[in-house]
Structures are given as structure tokens and as C-alpha cells.
Symmetry: C2
DNA sequence: CTCTTATTTGAGAATATATCTATTTTAGCT
DNA sequence: AGCTAAAATAGATATATTCTCAAATAAGAG
């Protein structure tokens, strides 16, 4: 499962609802991964997400179509997808691993109270320069700005609110 | 445990080995937290870390001095310290919560292969502007640039290396 | 279209991580 | 020294992730 070569191909034909599955198929082929119904279903769900689903979230959604699928399959597929660059793993502070189906350049807002993560676009941030001293040592895969905030909901709730458990609260963004 | 007011005080007298415990004491007092031997020991360990320890890491270290301390105490103390702004919780992709004893402005390099997190300083990044449209809605607590890379070790190890388990591998940075 | 094989799936157990509860201990005040 | 609210502890529980291996199957070969 090579990770190095993926970058040059990313976004070849990702646009359009029809093209998404072609893209998925192509990337899987390139990495000698079989196209299974489970993987297709998982990928479809990811493409319908505008937030940052956890494995558990995907698992719960997919079960309505696919009652026998195992959590293990969902989780392993997500990790595999991340390895071949179909999706990303989001940096988070909540202790639950979250995935990001959006591979276009974007940035994140983390609420330090509730752990929610919001996406935002900002052209200025897309083109920040990375020092040569770093690119000499590290192979750069991506970059992003992360803002730590207290979100409007948590501001409303006031100062003494504990972070909520994210168990079973949709994808938790 | 108020989170809002902390910013203005950060770095009041943090410099110097001697000053660190004074600072700790002062912040605890301000938040009506008791100065217990356990908390002091945990804070000392944090101040000796140049990386991003997990609760488990701190727990294992502290046990050599403090054989009876419980994991619960360590974990709760770390969360408390984060709440009062003595340390930060680091965004990570490994599924293990990590803490950052360094509260000065700095940025992170995440290895997407092994999950290690490296700190770096870069003046240009410290002063990136945050759009008004965001600060109007969100209460800004901090900001940072996160670079996603493959680290030198993982480059050396080649393409087909799986992410290593971080169980018992020091603090895992 | 069928055979073959390496990959993938799924069930259950194991491990890792984090939190809760109830009880005992103690820091810090008087 | 005594009091009291806060904190520490042990143990149980909840949550999240990974492992193991037998059974199922995608995809290429014939």
C-alpha cells in the first residue's frame, strides 16, 4: 500500500457524482485492492458526508443497507482508504479517530470545549510557504491551519460546561 | 474551571526552572485547586517533556517515584491542567490523547505513517491573520499550522511499512 | 463459464483507552 | 489540632481499536 506516489494522481477525475466511483475504482486498482460491495458502500457514505465521520458513525449508517457488515470491515476499510489517499485521517483531540472525505485543501476549526471540528476555506492559508529546512528532511504530504476556538454553542452554554460525550451524536463533525 | 480568562495570564512568570513551580502554584490557586504532591509530580514530569506525552506515558514514568498513584489521578490531573490552561491537548491522528506542555506559540509536523508529532517554530506562522468572519462567530483561543509529512525514519523504512503501534514506545512524541 | 488463489470479510476475543462510582485520605483553612 | 471540601484511590464499567482465524469471494487464468 504505497503512500508516496499517490499525490500526483489525486483529483484526476473526482468531479461529478458519476465520476466519483470511477475514481474510487481506479485508485483501488492501482493499489491492487479488490472492489468489494462493502468497500463501495463505505465509499459512497463517505462521499455523502460533509463532516468528519468516525468509524462507528459509518458503521451505524451502513448497517441499514448492509445488516451483516462488521465493524472490523468498516474500520479496516477506512484505514485502507486513508493509506491509499482516498480520504484523510483528521487530527482531533477527542480520543476518537475521525476521517475526512474532503481531500481538497481546507482548514479546520476545533472547539476546545465540545471537540467539534468545522471546515473552512481560506485562500491565503492554502498557499503558506513551508521552509526549505523542513522540506529537506520531511516528505510533505499536506498542510493546514488549525484554529482553536470556543464555538457559538459552547459560548452560549457558558463557562462551566464540560465537554459532551460524542457517543452516538451523529458524526460529531 | 473557567477557560476564557486564561489567555491574558499565560507566560506571566514561566521562565526559569525555579519559576515554573511558582507559576504552577499561582495558577492552581487562582482556580481554587489544591496543591497536592501528585499534581506537583505530574507537573514536574510535564515540564521535563519536550514532546507530547499521553496519560499512560506520564503514568508509567511517575510510578517509579510514586508507586501507588492511580491512572485515574494522572489522567484527571492532566485534563484539569488543560482546562486551566497550564498545558494543552494536542490534536492527533493516533486515537490516543496527547498533551502539550509547551504553551508558547509553535507548530506541528505530523507523520502520517507513524503518528509521531514534531514541534517547530516559525515566526511567519505565528502571525497569520484570522478572518473577521470567523472571529465574529468563534471565540479564538489559539491557532497553529499543521504539516502532514512522512518523517525521515518512515522514509528510510520504505513504502510498505504499516503504522507502528505506539503502545509503550516512550511518549511517542 | 468455471477453476483457482490470494484477498477480504465477519465473528468473537483481546487489547487499549478513558471514565464513573463509592470510599478513604488529605490540603488548607480556622 | 480539628473541620470540611476537594482530591486520591481501587475497582468496575464504558468506549474504542485491533487481532486471529475460518469462511466467503473478487478477479484473473484457462
Amino acid at each position: 500500500m504505497e503512500l508516496f506516489e499517490q499525490q500526483e494522481f489525486v483529483m484526476v477525475h473526482k468531479s461529478g457524482v458519476a465520476g466519483e466511483l470511477d475514481y474510487f475504482t481506479e485508485v483501488c486498482r492501482r493499489h491492487n485492492l479488490k472492489i468489494t460491495p462493502q468497500r463501495v458502500a463505505i465509499y459512497r457514505i463517505l462521499m455523502g458526508c460533509s463532516d468528519h465521520p468516525s468509524a462507528d458513525y459509518v458503521f451505524r449508517i451502513i448497517r441499514s443497507d448492509f445488516p451483516n457488515i462488521s465493524f472490523e470491515t468498516v474500520n479496516r476499510s477506512l484505514l485502507t482508504f486513508a493509506e491509499i489517499g482516498l480520504i484523510a485521517i483528521v487530527e482531533s483531540t477527542s480520543g476518537v479517530r475521525r476521517f475526512d472525505p474532503d481531500m481538497d485543501s481546507h482548514h479546520h476549526i476545533h472547539c476546545v470545549k465540545c471537540g467539534r471540528i468545522f471546515d473552512f476555506q481560506h485562500g491565503d492559508y492554502d498557499c503558506i510557504a513551508v521552509p526549505d529546512s523542513l522540506t529537506e528532511k520531511f516528505s510533505l504530504v499536506g498542510k493546514r491551519v488549525v484554529l482553536h476556538v470556543i464555538c457559538p454553542d459552547c459560548i452560549k452554554k457558558g463557562l462551566s460546561v464540560e465537554p459532551v460525550s460524542e457517543k452516538h451524536t451523529s458524526a460529531g463533525t
